[in-house]
């Protein structure tokens, strides 16, 4: 009845959570860069052979690249996909752009934000500052220009962005789908409110009272399913549990850059397996060493 997701126990196995994402869905990815990415859900979507996804997000990395590498993506509407100065360009993304196998509808952070807010506020258009005069505007025939009735200036206006589903990973949640995140929240809150549903993984399900002490950031009434998947953001970070797994990311990049057999081997070893096997293999427990000392923390990045 309600557009909200009311009541009850929303815990499901990971496979069932990922099954909420249909082929061709408009999917928002939570987290940003190499932090708090919903990687267990991404891997499960690959396992389930999802196709034709329209991805939207701000600045992302292995989540988007892995989905592209496995042929799951039709449209990529992110503001950035890559591995920063540390590990460089995103190989599958770069190849797909060159070969035209994915439609690259590159966007800008504040434009995506404006579109999400329009969706949240139930209005069919909203103006944005900037973009006008850039070539980003030309990638978006769905935008328009309008003249301000008060000042006479012309601005780009954009339609609302209403993801079918937002995929989030949080360190803790409860059985009702209430989630606690630490800052930066990136666009997670805005995605959650603008989407038809949120599907979440959490490192730990905790009692509601414990969650309230930390603070509920995304309320359960926006969440349709939550799966407990320890290390569900790996190889991205999810503090305080685990830092970014630089060697694993480098291994992915080498495999994805080489493609062919190398990529197949990566996928067979890390994606085709279940998450328990994955965790045993990658041993993410070592990434908790960040909290031991500054030296130990730095060591994870050398």
């Amino acid at each position: 009845m309600s557009a909200f997701h009311l009541g009850g126990d929303k815990r499901v196995p990971l496979a069932e959570a990922a099954a909420r994402v249909g082929d061709g869905a408009l999917v928002a990815l939570g987290g940003g860069l190499c932090a708090r990415l919903p990687m267990a859900l991404v891997r499960e979507l690959v396992r389930q052979g999802r196709r034709g996804l329209h991805l939207v997000g701000s600045a992302h990395s292995i989540d988007v690249d892995l989905l592209i590498a496995t042929g799951a993506v039709a449209v990529c509407e992110e503001s950035y996909v890559g591995f920063e100065q540390d590990l460089g360009l995103a190989p599958a993304f770069r190849r797909a752009a060159r070969e035209g196998t994915v439609e690259i509808r590159e966007s800008c952070c504040a434009t995506i934000l404006a579109q999400l807010r329009a969706a949240e506020a139930g209005v069919p258009f909203t103006p944005v500052r900037g973009i006008k005069g850039t070539d980003i505007e030309g990638l978006h025939p769905e935008y328009a220009r309008m003249t301000c009735p008060f000042t006479g200036e012309e601005l780009v206006v954009v339609p609302p962005l209403r993801p079918d589903v937002t995929l989030l990973h949080a360190p803790v949640g409860d059985a009702h789908g209430n989630l606690h995140l630490d800052q930066p929240f990136v666009l997670d809150e805005r995605f959650a409110h603008a989407s038809a549903q949120v599907v979440a993984t959490v490192d730990r399900i905790v009692p509601t009272a414990e969650l309230v002490t930390s603070g509920v950031v995304v309320p359960g009434h926006l969440v349709s399913a939550v799966a407990e998947v320890p290390y569900g953001a790996h190889p991205s970070s999810c503090y305080p549990g685990y830092a970014y797994d630089r060697p694993h990311l480098a291994a992915y990049l080498a495999a994805a850059t080489a493609g062919g057999t190398a990529l197949d081997e990566y996928l067979a070893r890390y994606v085709a397996v279940d998450e328990d096997t994955y965790v045993k293999d990658v041993d993410p427990g070592r990434l908790a060493s960040w909290s031991e000392s500054t030296a130990a923390w730095q060591e994870l990045f050398r």
Binding site: L33, S58, S79, G82, R98, G100, E106, C108, K132, I136
Partner: protein
């Protein structure tokens, strides 16, 4: 006698573009700018409002600069963290005074391409993308543009393959004609020299690093060089001991060095002479 490397002096030059009591921001994947902001905060601009990149933390004291921009090491113990929307709103309404921008291509008007070499929809090389630059380059008070890849000759170009972030002029016209109140690029710092922007909004070479000539710059630059060598307000002057100490304290992992080609990292200087 003090000695330093080009990467250290480069970061110091970026830091010196920040005035005290400015609100400054760097995008992700920008370690030189990131380190520069913390150097400025610890030296000549203690009262700047430092917005720490993809964490949006305000005036944090990083444990160290890690090689990824959304990491707890950058903002643990911060008194305040902006929300994503809070930062972008502030930038869009003109409350942020300075941003650092780079690009795979930069034109004479300081516009940048971080989207695609070869243009869209058929890029030769798809770059990462512009983050929020296409919006906030319009409205932020001033931009410090930089590149550590000038020498190769493909970065400073006459025409961009794709315009991601707004300099002083686009095909559609000037900033004023587009209705943008942000001041646009103020400085362009490269591993060869430092430019400001003249009354036409075009880059103008104001200073060279000690081991670089105007001919070196001209050979590496795709647009017609305008030159007014006058020291660029001292941007490229030797770093002070305090500045060098700040660079080394902020960036013990040397993350800034990832921006440079190996030969540039070998460039060292001292107060006595250029040692190259």
């Amino acid at each position: 006698m003090s000695a330093w490397s080009l990467d250290e002096a480069f970061v110091v030059a970026l830091a010196r573009t920040i005035a005290d009591r400015e609100a400054v921001f760097h995008g992700f994947a920008s370690p030189c700018a990131q380190v520069a902001m913390h150097v400025a905060k610890r030296t000549h601009a203690p009262d700047c409002l430092l917005i720490e990149g993809a964490t949006y933390a305000v005036d944090p004291v990083p444990v160290f600069v890690p090689p990824t921009g959304n990491d707890l090491a950058l903002h643990r113990d911060a008194v305040y963290r902006m929300r994503f929307e809070e930062f972008f709103d502030a930038a869009c309404r003109g409350a942020v005074d300075r941003m650092f921008l780079s690009g795979g291509q930069i034109d004479g008007y300081g516009s940048t391409n971080v989207t695609a070499i070869g243009g869209m929809p058929h890029p030769k090389i798809k770059l990462g993308g512009g983050g929020g630059g296409g919006n906030i380059s319009a409205s932020i008070g001033a931009l410090t543009v930089w590149t550590s890849r000038h020498r190769a000759g493909r970065t400073l170009v006459a025409d961009l393959d794709f315009l991601t972030d707004l300099g002083h002029r686009t095909r559609e016209g000037t900033r004023a004609e587009l209705g943008y109140t942000g001041g646009g690029p103020q400085w362009l710092v490269t591993e060869l020299g430092a430019f400001d922007f003249d009354d036409e909004g075009h880059a103008r070479l104001r200073a060279l690093w000690p081991d670089v000539t105007v001919d070196d710059v001209a050979a590496a630059t795709g647009f017609a060089l305008r030159v007014a060598l006058d020291g660029a307000d001292g941007l490229l002057d030797p770093p002070s001991e305090a500045e060098l100490a700040a660079v080394r304290a902020v960036d013990p992992l040397g993350v800034r060095r990832s921006e440079f080609a190996d030969p540039e990292l070998a460039r060292t200087f001292s107060t006595a002479a250029v040692v190259s």
